[in-house]
Symmetry: C2
């Protein structure tokens, strides 16, 4: 499957991710799934950045269309829907960690744990496999 097969400004790989993630909201949903243990619509709504309901619905749909997120009925509660990252979505992890590292280094106000930077620098690979194991 090719993402955004319809309209692409160029065939550049950087531009490719911009077509999907080049807005202020999409990546926050990925973050919530990847690091915050969130999986439901209402949980996404409650993030600090206060996404509005119509934007959230739109971005979730696009993420599904692009094969980054999948939606399933909860096993324990049939009226509840569960969002999760697909394998393709999980593979965004190295990007997300590099972003976190860059921010942690350059933004004094960032809330990344102080230990993160040194841990990431010294054992990047172990950290990635570790997190991936805990992502179901």
């Amino acid at each position: 499957m090719t993402i955004n097969s319809k309209h692409c400004r160029s065939n550049c790989p950087i531009n490719f991710v911009l077509e999907t993630f080049g807005d202020k909201w999409t990546l926050l949903i990925v973050r919530d799934l990847m690091f915050k243990g969130k999986s439901s619509y209402t949980e996404f709504l409650q993030s600090d950045e206060r996404i509005s309901t119509n934007i959230l619905a739109d971005r979730l749909k696009k993420l599904e269309d692009n094969g980054i997120v999948k939606k399933d009925v909860a096993l324990d509660n049939r009226s509840k829907l569960i969002y999760a990252l697909t394998d393709r979505g999980k593979e965004l992890l190295p990007i997300m960690l590099e972003i976190t590292a860059w921010s942690a280094k350059h933004d004094t106000a960032t809330n990344a744990p102080a230990s993160f930077l040194s841990e990431f620098t010294s054992s990047k690979h172990e950290m990635i496999t570790n997190i991936l194991e805990n992502l179901r």
Copy 2:
């Protein structure tokens, strides 16, 4: 220096980069500086994605304000201006490479060299120091 000290939706590191790069154009300028050897206003204008002149001026200004890009007079031609990445800008390289790798894996139309993925996977660190050396 703290980027975006004025208005921040949250103190999350992911959100932090979104405040600067969460649009369709900013990262393309970084790409042009980092990988395409571009350094002048007119060179940026000529990219495949066809940025318009007012948007380019706006994004260059913001990148300067955020300490990611610096502007200098050319040594050989005093009426020519040269843009370059600051150290902070160069430190975006790991993010850019991870983005390229993800795209190369998931977009069949991407124009990243076929060799890139295997080279990046096997010798990430060497690749990064190599590129950094050639970035002046």
